[in-house]
Symmetry: C2
């Protein structure tokens, strides 16, 4: 996931002969994508799904050269088999855990993503959620709405200044979270699979220790096999009854059943989730769960980010058609 501006000078090799001599046939896995990419018949042609992507795959799958994808549909081996002539998957998302990369590699299918563009947007939400939880906003709103505020003075709270808050995964999102949390004066620490000597924020040697030390954890690590249920019963118990959890990564990183149980039994103090396992989540699952803030995968889902990501995906498709180097290739 190199920065394209870094890669281009080193890898750009002009190629006179285009990789594909005919206009590419492109299938958008989401019809909304048609508003983001202009049709350019001399370069590519959209497959018109008439609103039914599944049927189009069944009847025209063999025609598809390029799939425009997002991170929300599973492109596993059996799905990819429906596209026997597929040459490229261009994703508008940063994540690619939905794509069977081994299968793409063995079939010679190029895969591009659109990394790092929504980090600020995701961090905005993460910090709004973390400060809201540290300030116990769900609890205090409930205090008013259940008529507990009867005296002139409400109960005192603690300042969030100097509260230890842990960032799990200090990648591009984690760094943006750090920048936004800093002026609140909270005491930020972090953990990730590798220490980063260039980062001044204290690194804690294990997630267990981070959970022990911190009042809040912000989960912004990469979702993959190594981070599935990274946040489990054991970590939640270390976070403790005063501790709060924010997840803006993927639902799979948190053992959601364990979290719900910990919230219901007040073994942790609160949670704010933008991502769920599965999505969409069911309201009934949360009806009796106290001290939660729930948002429907809003972190990176901004018009502004998607326009940038679509622009990059389009450039990747154009470069692929022209036989030029890809700007953000996964494979």
């Amino acid at each position: 996931m190199s920065d394209p501006s870094e890669r281009a000078p080193f890898f750009y090799i002009p190629i006179e002969t285009a990789f594909m001599t005919h206009a590419a046939t492109v299938l958008a896995m989401h019809s909304e994508m048609h508003t983001l990419f202009p049709n350019r018949p001399e370069r590519w042609n959209w497959l018109d799904t008439e609103g039914d992507v599944e049927n189009t795959i069944a009847t025209r799958g063999a025609d598809v050269d390029v799939l425009l994808s997002a991170s929300i549909e599973k492109l596993d081996k059996s799905t990819l088999a429906k596209f026997p002539n597929l040459k490229m998957v261009a994703s508008v998302s940063a994540g690619f855990s939905n794509i069977d990369l081994d299968e793409c590699r063995s079939r010679g299918i190029a895969v591009t993503n659109a990394p790092g563009m929504n980090s600020g947007d995701v961090a905005d939400l993460a910090v709004a959620l973390m400060t809201s939880l540290l300030l116990r906003i769900p609890q205090t709103q409930d205090y008013i709405m259940t008529d507990q505020w009867v005296g002139a003075a409400p109960p005192l709270r603690h300042s969030i200044r100097n509260m230890p808050v842990g960032i799990v995964g200090l990648g591009s999102i984690g760094k943006e979270v750090l920048a936004r949390l800093t002026p609140f004066g909270v005491d930020v620490r972090w953990w990730g699979p590798r220490p980063k000597p260039e980062i001044e924020t204290p690194y804690v040697a294990s997630l267990e220790d981070l959970a022990d030390q911190c009042r809040g954890l912000v989960i912004c690590c990469r979702p993959d096999d190594t981070t599935r249920h990274l946040i489990n019963d054991r970590i939640l118990d270390r976070l403790g009854a005063d501790g709060v959890l924010v997840n803006v990564s993927r639902g799979s990183v948190v053992d959601e059943d364990a979290l719900i149980e910990a919230l219901k039994s007040n073994r942790i103090g609160g949670a704010a989730l933008d991502v769920f396992d599965p999505e969409p989540t069911n309201s009934a699952r949360w009806a009796d769960v106290p001290n939660v803030i729930l948002t429907p995968h809003q972190g990176g889902a901004t018009f502004e980010t998607l326009f940038s990501q679509a622009q990059l995906a389009q450039s990747n498709v154009e470069n692929f058609i022209d036989g030029k180097p890809l700007l953000s290739s996964v494979l």
Copy 2:
């Protein structure tokens, strides 16, 4: 409201003879204050209220030399008349709009407050609330809990980066709000009764213009006669259907009836209130009001701030007894 560390070198005049030759009799208007101030019989003696301040005032009012007060009780002329020998009101709060200063002046009663100590705490809450509103967290939680999230992808939102946000009153709290909002990349502007040439953040010439320009307003001006119902129907209409309001000043600054009406008719997009008119507010008043976040006057109400304020109030009382200059005098 000078900073005590700035004033002391200029105004400190050692006085050999103490102003009061006997130990002062001190009445705490809130029994919780007894945990913050040690009794020091050689300097002052608490009046033991046995949990009934009203009765103590009725029976022992004439004995009181010093009142320890907060901003929540009204010290008007008739209340002050119950203390015919009162010499000092020491408030643990920054605000003093609850005290009849004319009456204190005419009776020669000294008044001290504890300014500027909770600005960071108030700003923490203000920014958590503003970012939550800009991110439409009440609406999106409702979206989940009313089973509107049925497709895999939720609707896109707008990035808050570059959204114009206005601060109403750039005093000590407003400046702390500015510091916390800056890394979110929102486009901060401000209005107050006087431009401040030393501030780089754009000054907007009128509150009307600020409301026209901004997606969100954070109210952190001083509550006094000039700011009563500063936020009224007219300003709310200029803020508009996409606009959101945060109030961490005092309830009186906002015309609460007008605000509720504007929220119910979706003429504004959301509001987050930490302060109400009157307090405590009634849950029934908010039951049918959409897109609100409500907290029970939690802004400055932290243990950490109160300990600092109590320390300053105690120093003021000691200095007053010793005839030394007051560290933060209002009168």
